[in-house]
């Protein structure tokens, strides 16, 4: 079709002719995407702007008439509060550990799924179950599993007392939350990696075999480099998702014993304590930190999203 490659315009150059067809195409295209754009912006851009605005006020829903403009002091309060930094630290920990573990397990699963010939349907079905299950249900299942009263984990782990309380201290509680998170999201990771694995040509692997590469060398020198794009996309998606961890914490510990994440803190301020001012400031900070993480991953790993998901 009319691939309009617009040449750089100079004063003298005549305007590139845009045919009626191209104009009609633009109009039609814009009409078709309009509903989607409007919907996406109504629910995100508008509330985000409102959050920016509200974050400049001392505003509590319990005392709306006391609303007063306080400038950036909500941000100052948040950023100087050790609680903010502690939750951010815990959140980063959740993100790094879960994504790291998922990457390894997910890759193993992807390899198995790639290889397996028999019972393909069974494997695929079972891997989709954690993906489809409600996160809240996963949280419950694991909370009860780790419970010393009714769970089986203490009984199955020989080095633990049967009355060991996983939710009594930060470290075990964080581990329990991570287990639930990892269980629920590994299938997603492994499906993304499976797609990447499918793009590595068999010929290339066989050529490496003939060239004398061991299994391990083939994996590191042939398979993984050729899956780079898929791995990076999976990491980006999952990291941003993990940074927003909320459901599991809410269900399993309700933020007790310092397991609170930044999302949970924001939620607690706005919805439970009706502190819209400081809550909005936290919302903005949360949004900014997600942007920073996305930027870091893209820069660090040089993920070219455009080429990973683009038309030529």
């Amino acid at each position: 079709m009319t691939t309009t490659v617009v040449a750089p315009r100079t004063e003298r150059q005549q305007k590139p002719e845009v045919s009626d067809r191209a104009k009609a195409e633009t109009r039609l295209g814009q009409k078709l995407v309009a509903p989607a754009i409007v919907l996406m912006l109504v629910v995100t851009a508008f509330p985000m702007l409102r959050a920016l605005y509200l974050s400049l006020f001392n505003y509590s829903l319990t005392a709306p008439e006391d609303r007063e403009f306080v400038g950036l002091s909500n941000y100052a309060t948040a950023l100087t509060d050790p609680l903010f930094w502690k939750t951010t630290g815990v959140t980063v920990l959740y993100m790094l550990v879960t994504v790291g573990v998922e990457l390894v397990i997910g890759f193993v699963f992807a390899m198995v799924m790639h290889r397996v010939i028999f019972a393909r349907g069974v494997i695929r079905t079972s891997i989709l179950i954690p993906y489809g299950i409600i996160t809240v249900v996963s949280g419950f299942a694991w909370q009860f599993a780790f419970s010393f009263q009714n769970g089986f984990v203490n009984g199955w782990l020989p080095f633990l007392d049967t009355d060991f309380n996983w939710f009594g201290d930060t470290t075990p509680a964080v581990i329990a939350i991570m287990v639930s998170e990892i269980w629920k999201t590994t299938p997603f990771m492994s499906l993304l990696l499976l797609a990447g694995l499918a793009q590595v040509s068999e010929d290339m692997i066989e050529a490496a075999k003939v060239d004398g590469a061991t299994w391990w060398q083939r994996l590191w020198k042939v398979v993984l480099p050729n899956m780079r794009a898929a791995i990076m996309v999976a990491v980006l998606f999952r990291a941003l998702d993990a940074y927003r961890i909320f459901d599991n914490i809410f269900v399993m510990t309700a933020g007790a014993v310092n397991t609170e994440s930044i999302s949970f803190l924001t939620y607690r301020q706005t919805i439970e304590q009706f502190q819209l001012g400081i809550g909005s400031a936290l919302s903005v900070l949360l949004f900014l930190s997600v942007l920073v993480i996305a930027w870091l991953i893209v820069k660090l790993f040089k993920v070219d999203l455009a080429s990973a998901r683009q038309e030529g």
Partner: protein, 276 residues
């Protein structure tokens, strides 16, 4: 050797994926007295089994029934609308050259990584002002917005795979643009539309943050929120077996969808996220 490895891998996957599911089913058959007294162990001990009692109790619970109804209604409506809107947008992105295409793609990408929690505060405020708080549309609208990016990506990947010639041939054969879209493109993109619908449904069914923030009563509260509020505030002492029964019930629709459509979901996930 390789075969054995694959076999072990398969067994590992099955255990990993199904163990917690079996566990929660097993838990749902433990009696409530056994839970209160403490009943560690994977399967209900003899005498601790409650039979179908927990399921009966859950289904007799008006709030829970209402939550299921809410979840099904809200998820289905959100899915339907989201897929229709995403189909139009994805078609334009895959097929047409127009100004603002980059803007759409960027917006979709930005929203896909948006921290949901940072929106609930302002949305809570706005929805109360518009009278959308604690209503179905109050949840349907955010669900649509947040599933649109994934749906658009998946669908545009499918659209891009349909050869251009197909549509041109239809035009030469005498079809209007709309006829070409409806009679040739939509049938060919049906698997993609379908995948997008399932993924959207999963998202809506799974959502928790909006569910607890934008509802206050059983009028619109979906299942995940209802489950978490099932037992009041103390997270350490819950009627676990009853909750487990509720969890199993809420998972049944997902399992059915997965069983029927697993092939399509896998295809959709892999093509939508990496390639397209």
């Amino acid at each position: 050797m390789r075969k054995v490895g694959t076999l072990i891998g398969c067994a590992l996957i099955l255990v990993w994926c199904l163990l917690p599911v079996v566990w929660i089913i097993s838990l749902s058959f433990k009696s409530q007295t056994a839970i209160t007294n403490g009943s560690p162990g994977f399967f209900p001990a003899s005498g601790d089994s409650a039979g179908w009692q927990n399921y009966q109790d859950v289904l007799d619970n008006e709030q829970f029934r209402r939550a299921i109804f809410n979840s099904i209604g809200i998820s289905l409506i959100a899915t339907l609308l989201s897929v229709v809107i995403a189909t139009l947008a994805a078609y334009a992105i895959a097929r047409l050259e127009f100004q603002g295409k980059r803007f759409v793609l960027t917006t979709a990408l930005a929203i896909a990584m948006f921290p949901v929690v940072s929106l609930v505060g302002p949305l809570f405020d706005m929805w109360r002002a518009f009278g959308l708080y604690d209503t179905w549309p109050g949840l349907i609208i955010p669900y649509m917005s947040f599933t649109l990016p994934l749906a658009i990506w998946t669908l545009s990947a499918f659209f891009r795979e349909i050869p251009w010639e197909m549509e041109q041939a239809a035009q030469v054969d005498g079809a209007t643009s709309w006829q070409a879209f409806r009679k040739v493109i939509v049938p060919l993109a049906a698997p993609g539309v379908f995948t997008a619908a399932i993924l959207t449904f999963f998202f809506a069914w799974n959502d928790f943050v909006f569910g607890i923030s934008l509802t206050s009563t059983e009028r619109a509260r979906p299942i995940p929120a209802a489950l978490s509020f099932f037992v009041g505030s103390d997270p350490f002492n819950r009627p676990a077996s009853l909750l487990a029964a509720g969890a199993v019930v809420s998972t049944i629709p997902i399992i059915i969808i997965v069983l029927i459509f697993q092939r399509k979901i896998v295809a959709g996930l892999t093509s939508g996220a990496v390639k397209g």
